[in-house]
Symmetry: D2
Subunit: 353 residues, 4 copies
């Protein structure tokens, strides 16, 4: 726990329905930092990472419809799509296990590595359209995907109001998602000027800086005392969680995608804003989603220019600088939002972070 470094591992061998991908680009996620800190338990020496794209290196014997050398992306979660949980539409909770679709890192090596294995490859790998760069495609694997999931669970009707708490990469993506769903008013809660600027660019109509005012009071004012139709929690902190309930009107939705693993206490729902359990408020605990179909729908939004998340990328590194990328993500220094990791495409070794 607490230490990250590059170690050598053999190139994985694919089982019948697997594919091995040679990585060309990847990103570090804040949840990799949670893992490093022990807030997400994993096996020793496991490879981190779940945001990567690359080219098909080797195909399992039963895999059809993919070719060696094809550019592919894979979601940060890689469900089986065969089990009852997947068949019911909850593929992120694959096998009926909590977050069971999250295999990278938590169930086996992640993909911050030169080569990585993808289970149920036909269901999980999506070809990257020629018009998209690796950089763009990477955002589909987790940031946009998770942010869009947050926006979906906000269940916005056209013209409704929404508050998004925190404008990190997931919160910014949720802001994009709310714009895409036709929100009438998007209020972003954020104090860092560069993130405020991105929030505006991505669709926020109003910014609330919680370091300069009480964000709950301010949002109530901005909505004529009514509150918002939906609130998105994209941070994972007790304060934003509780604030989300306070700013949401009766009959509204609280959509959580924050990971509440750093504080070891139950989440607390304030009684009065919850109508003592009778407010017609709805809470959804959302998680990233995988699968070829979902990736391709996000790609389409990138291809037709409706979304461009790349301004979130504040830093770029080579794979040999990966430890610096981790350190920055942990400290959130230098205004980092997302670091892009380039892999030397000609390389033949196999090392994992």
């Amino acid at each position: 726990m607490g230490e990250v470094g590059v170690i050598g591992k053999p190139v994985p061998e694919p089982g019948p329905t697997d594919v091995v991908v040679r990585t060309t680009a990847a990103m570090v996620c804040t949840s990799d930092v949670h893992t490093m800190r022990g807030a997400i338990p994993v096996a020793p020496d496991v490879t981190l990472g779940h945001e990567a794209v690359g080219v098909v290196h080797a195909l399992g014997s039963a895999v059809e419809g993919l070719a060696v050398g094809e550019r592919v992306a894979v979601g940060g979660v890689t469900p089986c799509f065969q089990c009852e949980s997947c068949q019911r539409g909850f593929s992120s909770q694959c096998q009926g296990r909590m977050l069971g679709g999250a295999r990278f890192t938590t169930q086996r090596d992640g993909n911050l590595a030169e080569y990585f294995l993808v289970n149920n490859a036909r269901a999980n790998l999506a070809p990257i359209p020629a018009s998209l760069s690796d950089h763009q495609a990477l955002y589909a694997t987790d940031m946009l995907s998770t942010g869009f999931v947050a926006a979906e669970h906000a269940e916005l009707a056209l013209g409704e109001t929404v508050a998004v708490f925190a404008q990190g990469a997931v919160g910014l993506s949720a802001t994009i998602g709310c714009r895409l769903r036709g929100a009438g008013l998007i209020i972003a809660v954020e104090s860092v000027p560069a993130r405020q600027e991105l929030a505006r660019r991505f669709g926020a109509d109003l910014i609330v800086d919680h370091t300069r005012c009480d964000p709950v009071e301010r949002i109530m004012e901005l909505t004529d005392g009514q509150g918002v139709d939906a609130a998105i929690e994209a941070l994972g902190a007790p304060q934003t969680w509780e604030a989300a309930f306070r700013v949401t009107k009766p009959g509204g939705r609280i959509s959580n995608v924050g990971y509440h693993g750093e504080v070891h206490e139950p989440l607390r729902i304030p009684l009065e804003p919850f109508g003592h359990g009778m407010s017609d408020k709805q809470v959804y605990a959302g998680f990233n989603r995988g699968g070829r179909g979902w990736l391709r729908r996000i790609f389409r939004l990138l291809e037709t220019g409706k979304v461009d998340p790349t301004p979130m990328t504040t830093h770029e590194f080579g794979f040999d600088e990966i430890e610096r990328a981790f350190a920055l993500m942990a400290s959130k220094a230098d205004g980092i939002i997302k670091p892009l990791i380039h892999f030397d495409v000609g390389a033949e070794g196999a090392e994992g972070a």
Copy 2:
């Protein structure tokens, strides 16, 4: 606070869209007891009650489609159906106010009285079909209505599993509701033998007695370690609230209709069973629903014999015995579930509880 008694009040006068009803039968609700105890704040000397049926006594000048002398029922909530909250489908949160549709008792006199006023009468009053008794119709005003709302928010697909915590009148009604929605397995959590017996009669497949085992462990065993697709909280207590999260599988729903006003602390969601905020679990804070259309749909289920809630009625009183009915509801003595209050139909006075 704390004292209940019968006092004299004038017969109310209807405004243009109101109707005044002469009561023929009513029921006391546990939430009347909450009110008596001060857990629900009300005006001094307000009349209690929100479960009553009767006959039309006087019509407002703009009310069409109803006639003096007609037998009518009215939901425990009486929304305006005109405001934006009602138009969005959240009529129980009328005017955008928390529980704003609940006008009886909380916004003006309730209907445990010989005469009572109904706002927006055309939208809120439903004629009682000739084939239904007052006794049957009364259950549509709150108990079945609230229990069915709980079942709806459990969002059961055909054949799914559900646990219902507590088998008071609302919990029993939720059990009926789950059977009506096609649950494959209904597990009722209850320790009182008479309530267990009713639960079985109303559709529970299995009973878990939480005084004889750990109900969470037992429900996990009964579902092969998978948990249930949905859990209904029909009590309003921290233990059952938390248990609901623990027994629900990832991707499941927690449907609350318990009133959590007796304990003055935030509701606590246990972290691990909530996937630290990423379990794809959904929580809904439900409340009773009103309106002519909804009442008539419940009446239809009663008329065609698909539902008979009257075995829940354990006691009957005359209106002059109302204080005894309250005392029993407060103490839950003598195995009381629901007390039916008969009004002397010939009476001409006007007194409120």
Copy 3:
């Protein structure tokens, strides 16, 4: 039938829940032309029109929350919001009557008049925000509203594909609606260059000109033989209706908002593209929607600049030129899409078209 002219009528008197509005601006709708031609049956000498805004002139005795002189808009449909149909969410089919919410013209005088009456005024009138012009607000009453309804019933998930048949004012509004719901690819079918140009401006990614190719074949090509996730029929013709089924993939939605009253034959669903009744395709017959809440949500999209429909307005007239406006709408000459009708605000007479 067939003749339109201006006639004098008295200023209407409001009933208890009504409001009388003095018109400041209005628009002519193609359905007014349908009415003129007899394709929609109405009473003789009825006033046409259902797209108008103005100021409150007189209030019914029971109307609260509105003031004389206030700028207001009203939807083209004005449901009661009290009946069972409204309570079930189908307010456009008010009273359980087909299109029963459409009172202007079909049930009483329309609002192409200097003064007009609005039933259930508190539910149906929305104040116009100061930042919006009459011109902008008018689009909320029918064009955007109907187009957005079409987009809603297309039930688009983020990134999905959609084809919109015909880019008149409703089709263009549907295109805006699809963009607002996060469609990944919007294909607009239209041959008129000015409308194609507007379609692109409003969010269409690709234009198919059905006069230059077989639109079904072309859309199948553009979607790699898969078809679109949803098709919107915004014309009301047998050809576009059938084409909508042919271009929609199995498991897709056909959302109709075209009025099929000009051809007196049943609508025909081609068997094979419907999977002989087993294609998992869904068809929705949509209609304009009213109500204060819905209007205010559309206003919010206009206020925050997410939508600007005014480029659809190709012509402007004074009320005294209304017959010319009708003639143009009937002939669709001079590239007309929507004509804006100005009322002389100082006038005191009362005349209806």
Copy 4:
């Protein structure tokens, strides 16, 4: 076309994700008769059938969680659950092909044979609980499944009204499904006394005999002129299809599961009952559904005694009498509804019908 007989075929060999099942019991479906008549095109000498249960005979190399000798059922459709169509929830339209999930008979040999192959076995095979007979389990593979799909697409709210057109095995199952979803009033349209009797037993409240009255007029009378909230078409004929639109109220749903392949003409929607395209009516073209999870949910309803479909079985045959079973299903003579086919469990040969 037109001839059915038993021919010898080798026992199939499983691919990596397949399982071969030895049949113990099966049923003949009316769609097998459609196939025989050429209304569903298939390869010459293909084995018919898609309703069968048995024991696992041989496992593909990559199949986990199943054992040779285990009793299993398989849905009449066997999707891959890997493709984009399956991931979107439309597994019956697997691969984006119309009815693409229907592999038995239409894409390869059916399972009216002593041995049959199941693709994607882990996703498609469900163990049969010990408490269920083969006879009961068989109904989950198509009849109950398709009838329940019909009831789901009727989107019934508690207490709503529904008409089910035709009470063959699918219509009867739809009636069961409507009861399970909490319909308030179920009207079954059927003229055959034995089917009327079963309809009542399965939950129909009222029977309309279309040979003795105009069923549209009668249903309108029975619903006080309002029409039903939903209509289910479970026959596949122009008359019932059109009647379904006529009896459904504005804002209602028409749920089709009838196969309209015998008449070679477009389906016709009558204009006026469709509000000329603006009735807020919704039409769904439904099809049988597969997958382990769905089968297990139906099994649960059978296990807890909430459903018993076996009274639909009017005839029983040995596999050597299969041609008689087909002849009866084609002629519908002798009051046949469903014939159960017993396989000699000790047999070792491999023959297909």
